[in-house]
Symmetry: C2
């Protein structure tokens, strides 16, 4: 029943775009899944839609819901996005352990994303679900760690009809989980990823986040949030220029 | 940090309404969560909204997304809802094991619902998440079984910031999981649940599911789907009249 199909979580950033390229190199039919969840950096979806055209996907589905009703994060509420945090220096000095999980963490976001991916995978008869989670040059998010991915996979294989009736096993694939940002960028560059269409900045619009996509020339990366800093560090260490 | 708060998944049916009453009897502040997910029996939400008023809730939140884009179920696609299946007779004769999981199963639905509940619980500083899952007089859904609930709880406690940073443990509470439908109805009746506002039927509108709420006098329970049959069996065995 299950074919060479995969569902790929695709936010449009460097990690998920690289993951999409890895999945595409391995699987025949790729179904990419993005979410319009009320994120501050909604512009990432415009970039994701454009970059999706480079991948010969079977389908790119964007699911809408509003996590601003739930809040608890600077990406979905009025909590400020931290600028020039000491994350980059702490990462460079090997003091990652001193980092707290930042306020850009969105409660249970990867759990929610993977759950929609699981539903779509079951409906499509796909077994492989790819996620660009990364536990090295990462933001300290709990739902990007290998132990979370493993536990999610176990749960998924108890949750679904095809697992119970047909003994189908879902695999949650996180091919970037042990890579540094520089290694990710090198890997993607080998696979001809267009990083000029991969958006990273968490806080591109600080005073009007409802701005329409047609005005996207007004969007600029802030250069100061953790995501911008990690991106710059990654390109620098990879010895490559950032095309965006 | 965490207070006497609970998030309750509340579809508006008999099981989740009884679960809401159980949670309310135990916890101070109740946050009920419903989903408008493109279900065929969207009328359940109108009933849920009305019945919510009986419970002195802190908040009743309805999250919107469209599972029709994912499909794979007769509740979210054009697959027909089975009528007069042999479920009731098989349940009565103790032949549950012969039942297949019916097409009313929605891929990963409880996984998705619990994931939003987990996000909201983390944001609210609540630790208890109630779900009306039931593994006795049930429809054979894999995501209503105790092993699924247990596995979800383990995953949840690796997924969140408060678990990792503050060692907070989430509890997925399924107080109905070992009860028969009749026992659920008796329990709810003790707790003064108004079952005239608990909707069960999967297929109330067969030709126009977009019908507006103002025309809800046109909605009738079909009496023939598994959910209607289990409801009737439950009231009969409880020795109580169905007020709806």
């Amino acid at each position: 029943m299950m074919g060479n199909r995969a569902v790929v979580l695709f936010s449009g950033g460097i990690d998920s775009t690289t993951t999409l390229a890895i999945a595409k190199a391995e699987c025949l039919d790729i179904y990419a899944l993005s979410f319009d969840y009320g994120q501050r950096h909604k512009i990432e979806l415009e970039y994701a839609r454009k970059n999706a055209e480079n991948f010969d996907l079977k389908k790119h589905l964007v699911i809408n819901f509003d996590l601003r009703e739930i809040g608890g994060s600077s990406l979905t509420s009025d909590i400020e996005v931290p600028k020039n945090s000491q994350k980059a220096e702490k990462l460079e000095s090997g003091k990652e352990k001193e980092l707290n999980i930042p306020v850009t963490y969105v409660p249970a976001r990867n759990t929610i994303f993977l759950s929609f991916a699981l539903a779509w995978a079951e409906s499509l008869h796909a077994t492989d679900i790819f996620i660009g989670a990364n536990a090295v040059d990462y933001s300290g998010y709990p739902d990007c760690r290998p132990e979370f991915i493993k536990s999610y996979e176990e749960m998924a294989n108890l949750a679904t009809k095809v697992s119970v009736e047909n003994n189908i096993r879902f695999k949650i694939r996180a091919p970037l989980i042990e890579l540094t940002k520089a290694e990710i960028i090198r890997k993607g560059t080998e696979l001809e990823v267009d990083y000029s269409l991969a958006w990273s900045c968490y806080d591109p619009v600080s005073d009007d986040r409802t701005q329409s996509a047609e005005h996207k020339q007004k969007y600029n990366a802030c250069g100061k949030c953790d995501s911008c800093i990690l991106r710059a560090k990654g390109f620098k260490e990879a010895g490559l220029p950032d095309p965006l």
